[in-house]
Symmetry: C2
Subunit: 121 residues, 2 copies
DNA sequence: GCAATATCTCAATCATCATTGAAACGTAGT
DNA sequence: ACTACGTTTCAATGATGATTGAGATATTGC
């Protein structure tokens, strides 16, 4: 479960034009992800600057990376995104959990696809 | 529909410890909201500093205010919060809208209660 | 092993944000 | 009108973040 400190870091990471563009590009790209060089082109930042932002996003738990040949592939951390949204909604419908709970679950099912053969193919 | 610029401003506003605490307190409090002085006590910041953060959140479209006597009551802007989450999810399940769409709608129903006699009473 | 590609680390500069205290503004009660 | 209360504005300081360029690291193909 995400705590306040993590949530602040995640929101701050998203509160930057280039980083939000990066995350959106990765969410759109799906689990296959994108190479750093491709991202740099799509977002429009220098390689050095991109690296800084990727590190920031990775540290915030919003993206992950894997090496493929001489490229490094980045992809969205759907569980991190889901957890962040759930944190924002946690105390929302305090007195009426029957309203919020299904929405949160549906959201989690959308963003996280751990074992299912479904989304983001 | 929220655009990138608004979303960046909103995320940046939430990416600050005290501001996130303020929003969470207001979301928990519901549409009745909280007076600025009460908020200052709950969040633990000086009145001057609170005013700065409230202005920031208001400008980001995440909270709203109304005067009541000599107090000013702040409350969460549920439509702004909902729009922000929808922006983050917009391109998520691009190829499978039947997965994301219901989640987003459920979320909107949870956060926004325009005419219903339901939530946040 | 050598050259080329892809990406990262480091140090420095510039801009932006958070916080504080003092003073001003509006409102309520007498 | 005057005093008290709640909240905001203003100017200044200190801290944090974004961006840049040069150099370092890792991987591939010859």
């Amino acid at each position: 479960m995400m705590d306040q400190r993590q949530a602040v870091a995640a929101f701050a990471a998203l509160g930057q034009e280039h980083r939000l563009s990066i995350v959106r590009a990765l969410v759109t790209a799906g689990p296959d992800g994108l190479a750093a060089g491709v991202l740099a082109g799509e977002v429009g930042v220098s390689g050095t600057n991109l690296s800084f932002h990727l590190k920031e996003l990775s540290h915030a738990g919003l993206i992950q990376s894997r090496r493929d040949g001489r490229s490094i592939i980045y992809s969205a951390a759907y569980d991190g995104l889901s957890g962040l949204i759930q944190f924002l909604m946690r105390d929302c419908c305090q007195g009426r959990p029957e309203v919020c709970a299904p929405a949160v679950e549906a959201l989690a099912a959308c963003l996280c696809t751990p074992t299912g053969d479904t989304v983001h193919a």
